[in-house]
């Protein structure tokens, strides 16, 4: 009874403290958050206009009925799933260095899922009817519709990660040792769950018989592998940023592990893409039309050709840069590789995957799609909002990270300086 009361008292204090931590910082931090807020507001304004005037403000059509929003949604699901690549080494392979930092991956998952959900809402023609999709209140077409599965796994993953991060931070706030039984089972559940979110998202597309470009069993494995490139790539960038701007002594261990992961997953991803390209082009016939349109253009229409070759160039150069044993010790080279792979996969699994599913259309009409200004504004706004969430969350977790790293450093090097 008394513990309950004390939580009622201390939890709001914890939340208030988190808000304070997230809103206090250096001038640089304020500048960064202000820019993100501005971009997010531009996106919000564009979304408000789109909701009021209709999706006629986008360049989507009845032929290409999904565009930039769903492309970004798909990629962001991968980012959320890829964040688990900090949790797996830490909890399954007992990588102690990584263990200290896993909360970064979990916070990234929270931010990335928020991005996914915002993109889904941006894509709805009737956001006011969102409640129709809520189980028990609306009319949830489960288990038949894959989209209902996606609603479940994405929100479940969000709740899991919110719980894990929230519990650990709250315990630190109370100055108590976290009880493993309140978070370790959830961590293990989140590992399986991470795989499920991107598998289900792949099944959204691969289960459609009328879209030969997506109707491929390799889609889910491809999604997972590419997520294990884009996730680690983004985390490497976060770690360098935290080291540079927050003075967090990250150390080489986690960066080395994440680099090793990318060294394996990026070639596998390219191999899978290559296998698809072979199957499409060697088989020929009607199945190859979408791939032809994507890579070379079809009947004079070639809007996606520059996109996909940019993606290929990015990924191949990233692969070349990564294929060096000591790349993890060369921050510039590593960051360039991570950045290129991130952009490459954003195209490959975004626009490069969604749009060819619709071109040619099911009646083989060739209607091209280029996102409108409103779509770009909304997409930029959603990503800015995601970065805003991530920055605030990292800011809140930073004292914990610094404390843990310092304590472990002191344990491992007794008598030595606490900084690495």
């Amino acid at each position: 009874m008394s513990t309950k009361n004390s939580h009622l008292h201390s939890y709001p204090r914890f939340l208030w403290h988190a808000v304070r931590l997230a809103t206090a910082g250096s001038l640089g931090f304020y500048a960064w958050m202000t820019v993100l807020t501005a971009v997010a507001l531009v996106g919000l304004h564009a979304w408000a206009s789109q909701t009021a005037s209709g999706m006629v403000l986008t360049h989507m059509t009845d032929q290409v009925s999904w565009g930039l929003y769903i492309a970004n949604f798909t990629f962001a699901v991968g980012l959320a799933a890829g964040a688990v690549m900090m949790v797996i080494p830490a909890y399954l392979y007992h990588d102690e260095d990584m263990h200290d930092l896993t909360i970064i991956g979990e916070l990234l998952a929270v931010a990335a899922i928020s991005v996914c959900l915002m993109f889904v809402v941006a894509d709805l023609g009737r956001p006011d009817r969102f409640w129709h999709m809520i189980p028990l209140i609306g009319r949830f077409h489960w288990p038949i519709s894959m989209l209902t599965w996606d609603v479940l796994v994405l929100n479940g993953y969000l709740l899991l990660n919110l719980h894990i991060c929230g519990y650990l931070l709250y315990m630190r706030f109370l100055g108590r040792r976290a009880n493993p039984k309140w978070y370790v089972p959830f961590v293990f559940l989140s590992i399986g769950w991470a795989i499920s979110i991107h598998t289900v998202t792949a099944f959204l597309y691969s289960g459609l018989g009328g879209r030969p470009f997506w109707n491929s069993a390799i889609l889910a494995p491809r999604f997972i592998v590419s997520a294990f490139v884009s996730g680690p790539a983004f985390i490497v960038a976060i770690l360098f940023a935290l080291q540079r701007f927050a003075g967090l002594p990250v150390g080489n261990g986690p960066i080395k592990t994440l680099t090793r992961i990318m060294q394996v997953t990026l070639p596998i991803d390219l191999f899978m893409v290559g296998s698809e390209v072979f199957t499409e082009f060697y088989t020929g016939g009607a199945h190859v039309s979408a791939a032809k349109y994507l890579y070379f253009g079809l009947h004079g229409k070639s809007a996606l050709v520059p996109w996909i070759w940019t993606a290929i160039a990015c990924n191949v150069v990233a692969l070349f840069l990564l294929m060096r044993g000591d790349v993890y010790q060369r921050p510039k080279r590593l960051l360039t590789a991570a950045g290129l792979a991130f952009v490459g996969l954003w195209i490959e699994k975004g626009m490069g995957l969604i749009i060819p599913g619709f071109v040619p259309s099911t009646l083989h009409e060739l209607v091209e799609y280029r996102p409108s200004l409103v779509e770009w504004q909304i997409a930029a706004g959603v990503w800015a909002a995601g970065l805003l969430i991530l920055s605030a969350a990292l800011k809140i977790a930073l004292p914990v990270l610094q404390g843990t790293l310092a304590a472990h450093s002191a344990e491992r090097h007794p008598g030595g300086s606490s900084a690495s």
């Binding site: 204090r13 914890f14 931590l21 809103t23 206090a24 304020y30 202000t34 807020t37 501005a38 507001l41 919000l44 304004h45 408000a48 909701t51 009021a52 005037s53 209709g54 999706m55 006629v56 986008t58 009845d62 032929q63 009925s65 999904w66 894509d123 709805l124 023609g125 009737r126 006011d128 009817r129 969102f130 129709h132 999709m133 009319r139 949830f140 077409h141 038949i144 519709s145 894959m146 989209l147 209902t148 609603v151 630190r172 706030f173 100055g175 459609l208 018989g209 009328g210 879209r211 009607a286 039309s289 619709f358 099911t362 009646l363 083989h364 004292p399 914990v400 610094q402 404390g403 310092a406």
Partner: protein
């Protein structure tokens, strides 16, 4: 050490009072500016009137409504149409007749590709005028090929042209409909008489059905449909041709507001060559039954297992 133990705790260094005041002022200013900017950003939503009433917002799924509730809703929609479009319309809710299973057949040998069916659909179903929307798309095909890749939907020349035949495509009312399967909120379903319908007041506009349909049968309302009052067909039904709201998906419903009343679809009546045959497949004396029993009919994309109720055949 206490800082390590309580990194989130409240044992921080106290701020100098003047710094604290400055910080508060700055944060206050930022919060005010942020609120003002947010209000400005969402201002366009003030013009957004998705429904005219709370009842519209809270309306349940069609299948959960009682007959009386449906009546009220139809009356409300009639009033909305009057207010927004200036037209007096009647919105009925004809039900599927037990034992009836509708099917359609189309004689490709005599279709001349005139698109009269498409035009009739446009008028009958109160489609958006500026976009020229219709549930029917006519493909000009090459003689000797069923490859849609070699077809053309945007032909603009006198028809029929030598060396071509014409393939009108609309909703195939599949018995194993991919669109029904994927809908996350059951806003679209198959009725007893075989017609796949949409509850326009329940659809959330995710367009998953549009991605799933192999026949390009579905259309999305990218904006609020525009129709002059004089051109509005007042004979409407809830699950059929009433004017659709912005942001929802629609599709061919075999003109159920006509066919459930014993009339024929508008596209059939408009066809100048008699290429179209419609009827109750369960009626052994029906023309559609005769066609399916005596002609070598086929369905589009049979390999997908969608089991269409729309059949095609060649006469010669």
């Amino acid at each position: 050490m206490s800082e390590i133990e309580h990194p989130l705790g409240e044992n921080r260094q106290p701020e100098a009072p003047e710094n604290a005041t400055r910080r508060k002022l700055m944060l206050g200013a930022a919060a005010t500016l942020g609120t003002a900017a947010t209000a400005r950003a969402i201002a366009p939503l003030m013009d957004w009137k998705p429904t005219t009433s709370l009842a519209g917002f809270l309306q349940r799924h069609y299948k959960e409504l009682t007959t009386l509730e449906k009546k009220d809703i139809c009356a409300r929609l009639e009033a909305e149409t009057k207010a927004q479009y200036g037209a007096d319309v009647h919105i009925a809710d004809p039900q599927a007749e037990p034992g009836v299973g509708f099917a359609y057949a189309l004689n490709l040998s005599i279709c001349i590709g005139c698109r009269k069916c498409s035009e009739a659909c446009h008028q009958e179903n109160n489609h958006d005028r500026p976009s020229g929307n219709s549930y029917i798309r006519v493909i000009e095909m090459e003689q000797g090929s069923l490859d849609l890749e070699r077809g053309n939907t945007t032909y603009d020349h006198p028809v029929p042209r030598k060396g071509n035949y014409y393939l009108p495509v609309q909703c195939q009312q599949c018995d194993n409909a991919p669109c029904v399967k994927v809908c996350p909120v059951e806003a679209t379903w198959k009725e007893q008489d075989g017609i796949v319908v949409v509850d326009y007041n329940w659809c959330i506009g995710c367009r998953y059905c549009e991605a799933a349909c192999p026949y390009h049968a579905r259309r999305f309302n990218w904006k609020k449909p525009e129709i002059p009052a004089a051109e509005i067909n007042p004979n409407q039904a809830y699950l059929a041709n009433r004017i659709r709201p912005q942001g929802v998906v629609e599709k061919c419903h075999f003109c159920l507001h006509r066919t459930r009343e014993g009339r024929l679809p508008a596209c059939l009546e408009a066809c100048p060559t008699g290429a179209r045959v419609f009827g109750n497949l369960n009626d052994k004396e029906s023309e559609i039954r005769w066609v399916i029993e005596n002609k070598r009919v086929f369905v589009l994309k049979e390999e997908l297992g969608t089991l269409p109720r729309f059949f095609y055949f060649f006469d010669k």
